[in-house]
Symmetry: C2
Subunit: 193 residues, 2 copies
């Protein structure tokens, strides 16, 4: 069964309105009702199609997630498969970092939704799993799953926004901090011989 024409029209209108509102308005002034109003549809229409605000944000961010996942799964090394473990880790951190910076308003909406909404999101689980693998490959001596969660938490959009806006740390300082966190410079303890 194909999607009805009016449904498709409304879907596009709602997504566009939501995107615009999230960019323009302060996060907690964005509500179902405002999005519906901006899109020129009823609240129930938004709800039925996307379930809730979380689903709407998911739908907005999904294509960008997919694009990055493609680059990670089958792009050029070192972000794609192949290459030195250390380089693969750093390339991945850069890609994640840029992704968060570029999509920070949507990611903050995600984080805002519930206490675990950010981590439980399927995309986040992918990022974290991949991060775990790459940390483990580059630094076999550390507790990679835990460190992956910590690094991912340091990449939260709300955390980064706070550090940038209220602690006046510039973006590149944060980026350097994330890299240092995941793979400190200097000699690694060589526990394997």
């Amino acid at each position: 069964m194909t999607e009805r024409a009016d449904a498709a029209r409304n879907r596009v209108a709602v997504l566009a309105a939501a995107e615009a509102l999230f960019q323009r308005e302060d996060l907690d002034h964005v509500s179902l009702a405002r999005i519906a109003e901006a899109a020129g549809v009823g609240k129930a229409t938004v709800m039925r199609r996307f379930g809730d605000l979380l689903g709407l944000v998911d739908a907005l961010i999904a294509p960008r997630v997919a694009a990055l996942q493609n680059r990670v799964r089958s792009g050029e090394p070192p972000l794609g498969p192949g290459g030195d473990a250390g380089a693969r880790l750093h390339a991945y951190l850069d890609a994640l970092f840029d992704f968060v910076v570029e999509n920070r308003t949507l990611i903050r909406a995600l984080e805002h939704y519930g206490p675990y909404a950010y981590y439980a999101n399927p995309a986040s689980q992918f990022w974290i799993d991949e991060l775990t693998h790459r940390i483990h490959a580059a630094r076999p001596a550390v507790d990679a799953p835990y460190l992956a969660y910590v690094v991912f938490t340091a990449l939260r959009a709300d955390v980064m926004d706070y550090l940038r806006v209220h602690q006046h740390m510039d973006t590149e300082r944060l980026r350097a901090g994330v890299h240092a966190l995941a793979a400190p410079p200097g000699p690694q303890p060589d526990l394997h011989r």
Copy 2:
């Protein structure tokens, strides 16, 4: 002007009721109205005295914060003043870790309140400043302010709860992870000679 007897009675009742509710109920089922009802007072009574929910949580946690701050400022080394920089850092991490574990329901309420409520809290600022100093003393080569924020973020009660409950990491594993984060084992890069 001294506090009126009924006001004092209500203050105690509200604090006790709030404490009990936060322990017993799921966080987002705790509301002003429920607290007021449980304390047997009106909502406005709660609001006037504590300003808002944040103020109430602050009042609950303040004495415990003060107790730990005393130990940090004037207790026995290495948590108190004096001792080896590395030992001071690790003692402080342990104390903070235990503090979060013991008060996790209240801390989660704090974090829940607003995006920056956790970090903006005066107590948090103290913890972070102290953490910054101790990291800097133990590891002069790293970006101590940034690392302090990251470590403090890793100590968020919601993050730790998520890792414990949904990722099945036990408490001691988290503790070890935090220590490794702030001061990785093995040779430190010696950039100072």
